[in-house]
């Protein structure tokens, strides 16, 4: 049995190394400053990915700019200003649980029907970003809630004893104390947004030009990889480089998250 378990572990590590090794082996040669700063040519077979990076940044920017106020506000209300067993809080919580389980392709369908068609945004960066905002909302809320719950109740009592209003206590005390949870939530949302492909294909579209405004269609990095791999013969080299870049980006985000979570755990022990 010991042998079997060790070989399972080796198998898993082997697959991971195979995948990463393959990406690095074929992708590292293509990655260069020029690749990052020039426009794609011949449908992406040659040239770089500059407009795609800009579109990705804009889509993710729209997503976070919408999701952060919504998510943090909701989490604060649920944890600080609504009774645990209240009907309102229960309904919102249930709705968020359902939202967390919706497959990304269904978010895409919804974004296409609501943002692109009903609100008339068409295939645009704005529509894509807003669709992603709906998707990362539950992640952001859950993580902010955990951050706030980890703040000891003594903080709240001390603030009340000092005569601070609940709003003031929130701004000067609770939110700063809950910052690690908030940061983890934002980074998790960021990672999910950058990795997402299916919800973007028919909300932000395929156009690989440099976007002029948020209402322009823009191609995200993940959609670029998909398109190069599936629809463009001879696009493999650049697809490898883009995939490597995307994987590296997500690894960096995840490394920061686990670092933060570690620090979070450490600091909480000191507080209590």
């Amino acid at each position: 049995m010991t042998l079997l378990i060790w070989s399972v572990a080796c198998l898993v590590v082997g697959v991971l190394l195979w995948l990463l090794g393959d990406l690095i082996w074929h992708g590292i040669g293509q990655l260069s400053w020029a690749f990052l700063t020039t426009a794609p040519q011949k449908a992406g077979r040659a040239g770089g990915i500059a407009p795609i990076l800009v579109s990705t940044a804009l889509i993710v920017g729209v997503c976070l700019a919408t999701a952060i106020p919504l998510g943090v506000g909701t989490a604060v209300l649920l944890v600080e200003f609504s009774p645990q067993r209240g009907l309102f809080g229960r309904l919102v919580r249930l709705s968020l649980d359902v939202l967390a389980g919706v497959p990304s392709i269904v978010f895409g369908l919804f974004g296409n029907a609501f943002f692109s068609k009903t609100l008339g945004l068409g295939f645009s960066i704005l529509a894509g970003g807003l669709t992603l905002a709906c998707m990362v909302l539950p992640i952001l809320i859950r993580s902010t809630q955990e951050g706030l719950r980890a703040v000891p109740d003594d903080y709240r009592r001390s603030a009340a004893a000092l005569g601070l209003s609940r709003t003031a206590a929130l701004w000067v005390l609770l939110l700063p104390a809950a910052m690690p949870g908030l940061a983890v939530g934002i980074l998790l949302g960021l990672g999910r947004a950058i990795a997402e492909t299916a919800a973007l294909i028919f909300t932000s579209g395929y156009v690989d030009r440099m976007p002029d405004s948020l209402l322009d269609s823009g191609r995200a990095l993940s959609v670029h990889i998909f398109d190069l791999a599936m629809n463009i013969s001879g696009g493999e080299a650049n697809a490898y480089a883009s995939a490597l870049l995307l994987a590296i980006g997500l690894m960096v985000i995840n490394a920061i998250i686990s670092g933060l979570a570690h620090w979070f755990r450490g600091s909480r022990i000191q507080v209590i």
Partner: protein
Amino acid sequence: MFPWLSEAIFIGVLRGLAVVSGVVALLILLFLLQEALPFLQQIGFARFFQDASWHPVSQEYNLLPMLWGTLFVTVGSVLLATPLGILSAVFCQYYAPPAIAQVYRRLIELLAGIPSVVYGFWGLVVLVPLIGQLHPPGPSLLAGILILSVMILPTVALVADASFSNVPPDYLRGAAALGLGRWATVRSVVMPAAKAGLLAGVMLETGRAIGETMAVLMVCGNVVQVPDSLFAPMRTLTANIALEVAYAVGDHRAALFVSGLVLMGLIVVLVAIAEVIQQGKIYD
């Protein structure tokens, strides 16, 4: 000047934000229904299972091949990934020296963080040609099962790892006092104690497998047919939507929204099952 007033306004704003967040799920359901219902009423639900095939251009809307496709790929990958994931969590908790376990956990987290389109791409350029050499054509049910297994394995492994670490250490000491070996302890003490967590992990990975789009879209070949062998190409519900929504209009579009609804239904059933299991844990 009026602290109670500013506080009331502030809470009002928060309530507004929370309502928007809460309404999103409802909106999604509403828009799916709005696009799908008129068409459903017009042709009836049965057509989606009785038509000759999926051929929207000539008004044939049979979803069964895609439903079977989703079922096969999901069941296959869950059957493959669950034992591997659980054993790898066992490795982490009970077999590996602490230093190795730490590194191994990091690697699993790394695996969990790789985006699905990158998995799909790797499957397309590495796995599919390999399978093609073994048994043409290459893009196949097997490719889908393998790539999905790699994708969902970290989910089970991490959830199982967490629920193993929640097993009270007294259980382990008790088992050791009884002279049980390492594997016997894991099998007959740890596994039953962590049962609820393990089941939740399985539900979670099943949900991920059903909802996954890009990876299966890229490696399964996307032929509309019930696969008759592991090496036959096939198409899942999710891939069907991703492939056709961009150009679908009218009834075709509505039919795709119906398949979106079916997908939502599957997920809701899963969430409900997971909920029941979680409830059970409280009384355990």
